[in-house]
């Protein structure tokens, strides 16, 4: 690693950072509407975003700084196994094509801001809604913390992270500043801030990837050379495990893991509150369907990005912390000014999702905990105020998390978060298509899935960690190694179906469904679906 501070790269980085800060604060004036103090306005950007804004927002939201650092890092560490992110993002879009428009319609019609709002309205169960909300908040928190880890990686490589012996305050000051700024403009501008900044982020990312994927292979002697060197490196025995470091293609045994990870992650992605926030902020049902056809552009980018992991090996980048592999590759291969652009892309790439995630978690807390359990008569203005404060708290929490605990803790929790969030799938997606599942059965299934997933993940050991050493484990009954989240999900589904049969036989009370079948296909312009919901509607859905 470079010992001194990389001045040119740092200057470019700071320039872009200042530019997006100004944009973030100005964003509140962008397409502002009359009723500023509603949660629809602050937390969903007035539900007014068209195809392109939604595309940038969703892309900025789903493909985070952590993704940019972690996916190539996984390839750098072990090869083929890390590439599952590509089939994962391929499968997401045909999947959401089927259910997301229905969620959009019913949410627009009833003024739902979160998935828990929908679950409560559909199943008439505050308990189930609370379970979904708590799962969402728990899964999002470590994800925000990981965005900070992404920024830290970049700061480290630029030489401003400080060495081991630096005072902690000096060492963490850049990160504190970055997050102070992020918190301030999220507070004042709401979802409009990340929506606007996402333009800058994605433009930078696309430029960096396009340059990297052409420039670096030329410098390294072509892909033949890169993969030959990488294959050689994977073949070497890792002293910690006594097995080869990795492989260029997954082994027979690794194929189950690969497929289940891809499928499980694809099912989980749109259960995350921040994905739903970006979805519900779009103007119409069409915007969502159209987006499922253009979002895969990001998957292509992700695939190219993953290849950078091989290039890092071929370029002889040696880092003990795999997360630094890509920033270090940029520093080694690019002239200083362009390395600065690349670092800015990653840094800003952390700010966009962190802002959306904190807004999404805050919406969940306000709507499904504060309003349902603490202050049922809260006015829309009060809801917005609480949401803004909670978004601040969530970020401070994430910051404390990263600064006081080991990075692996955040990574472990994020791994758990993915397993957990998948357990809300039956209630949400099931509920969008059928009212057959019983609310208590869904709750039972959720509990079993959460419990199994947590215990199973706790029991996975790796050469470096006793617990939470990975996300795959033997699937009971099949004997292959598979993604724990998916196993837990199947278990969840089985319990839900069995218990539903039992409860239906016992004629347990079903709860009131406030939605009707045609709500699920309503589009903007239909009767009862307003483009901008008045504050009274947003708050009176229950």
């Amino acid at each position: 690693m470079n010992d001194g501070v990389n001045g040119v790269a740092l200057a470019v980085f700071i320039f872009f950072f200042l530019a997006v800060t100004v944009m973030g604060f100005l964003a509140s004036r962008w397409r502002r509407s009359d009723n500023e103090h509603t949660l629809d306005e602050w937390g969903l950007g007035g539900r007014s975003f068209g195809t392109w804004v939604t595309w940038f927002l969703l892309g900025g939201d789903l493909y985070t700084a952590y993704t940019f650092v972690a996916v190539p890092a996984a390839i750098y560490a072990a090869g083929a196994a890390g590439f599952f992110a590509v089939p994962y993002t391929i499968l997401v879009y045909p999947l959401i094509f089927t259910f997301l428009p229905r969620l959009w319609s019913v949410s627009h019609k009833h003024g739902y801001v979160t998935t828990s709002d929908f679950v409560r309205g559909r199943f008439g169960s505050k308990g189930l809604s609370l379970a979904v909300a708590v799962t969402g908040i728990l899964a999002t928190m470590p994800y925000i913390a990981l965005q900070l880890v992404g920024i830290q990686a970049v700061l480290d490589v630029m030489g401003v992270g400080g060495g081991e012996d630096t005072n902690w305050f000096v060492k963490d000051l850049p990160l504190l500043i970055a997050f102070g700024v992020l918190a301030a403009y999220t507070y004042s501008s709401g979802l409009r801030a990340p929506a606007l900044i996402a333009f800058v982020k994605d433009t930078l990312i696309y430029i960096v990837i396009a340059v990297a994927i052409i420039y670096i292979p030329i410098k390294l002697g072509g892909f033949d050379e890169i993969f030959a060197k990488a294959g050689e490196a994977y073949g070497q025995t890792n002293p910690a495990t006594g097995a080869p470091r990795g492989a260029l293609t997954p082994s027979e045994a690794g194929q189950w893991t690969y497929a289940t990870l891809a499928l499980g992650s694809a099912l989980a992605l749109f259960m995350y509150p921040h994905s739903i926030t970006a979805t519900l902020s779009s103007r119409s049902r069409e915007v969502i369907r159209r987006n499922t056809t253009i979002l895969p552009l990001y998957s292509l980018m992700l695939g190219l990005l993953a290849l950078l992991g091989f290039m890092a090996i071929a370029a002889g980048v040696k880092v003990s912390n795999g997360q630094l592999a890509i920033p270090q590759l940029f520093e080694t291969m690019f002239p200083a000014w362009f390395a600065g652009v690349a670092f800015a892309a990653i840094g800003i790439g952390a700010l966009v999702p962190a802002a959306i995630m904190s807004i999404a978690a805050a919406n969940l807390f306000t709507r499904n905990i504060y309003k349902d359990f603490i202050k049922p008569d809260a006015t829309p203005a009060q809801e917005t105020k609480v949401s803004k404060l909670v978004s601040l708290l969530v970020k401070v929490g994430a910051l404390v998390f990263v600064l006081t605990m080991d990075k692996t803790v955040a990574i472990n929790f994020q791994l758990l978060g993915g397993i957990w969030i998948l357990q809300t799938f039956p209630a949400l997606v099931g509920g969008l298509f059928t009212r057959w599942f019983h609310r208590w059965a869904l709750l039972a299934g959720w509990a079993v899935g959460m419990l199994y997933g947590t215990i199973a993940a706790y029991g996975v050991a790796s050469p470096t960690q006793k617990h939470f050493g990975g996300s795959s484990k033997e699937i009971p009954g099949i004997g292959e190694i598979g993604y724990i989240g998916l196993t837990a999900f199947v278990l969840n589904l089985v319990v839900t179906v069995v218990v539903t049969f039992a409860l239906r036989a016992l004629k347990a009370p079903e709860g009131v469904d406030e939605t009707s079948p045609e709500d699920y296909t309503a589009d903007a312009g239909d009767k009862g679906v307003q483009v901008e919901l008045p504050p009274a509607t947003a708050g009176s859905g229950h």
Binding site: F83, F97, P250, W256, P296, L300, A306, G525, S540
Partner: protein, 93 residues
Amino acid sequence: MSEAPEAPSAPEVKPPVVTPIRVVIGLCLVAPFVAMLWVGSYAKVDPTFIGIPFFYWYQMLWVLLSTALTMTAFTLWNRDQRARKARDGGASA
């Protein structure tokens, strides 16, 4: 809820739920799952493309294929919905 739900449109002559066009839409959406989850079909190095092993370029190719398939599903679905609206006798906008 603030608005009374719309009166359900007359359900006398509902077109069948499963139609050939919908089967095609379903196939378009299912195909990527079959292709991607069958890892054994592409877990190999050869043939390489400009030096990139088959495993990697094949999956990247599927990004494009699945995009094309989702677009097809999107177009067919819109056509299907329009046809249904027209048949329901509603004034299609």
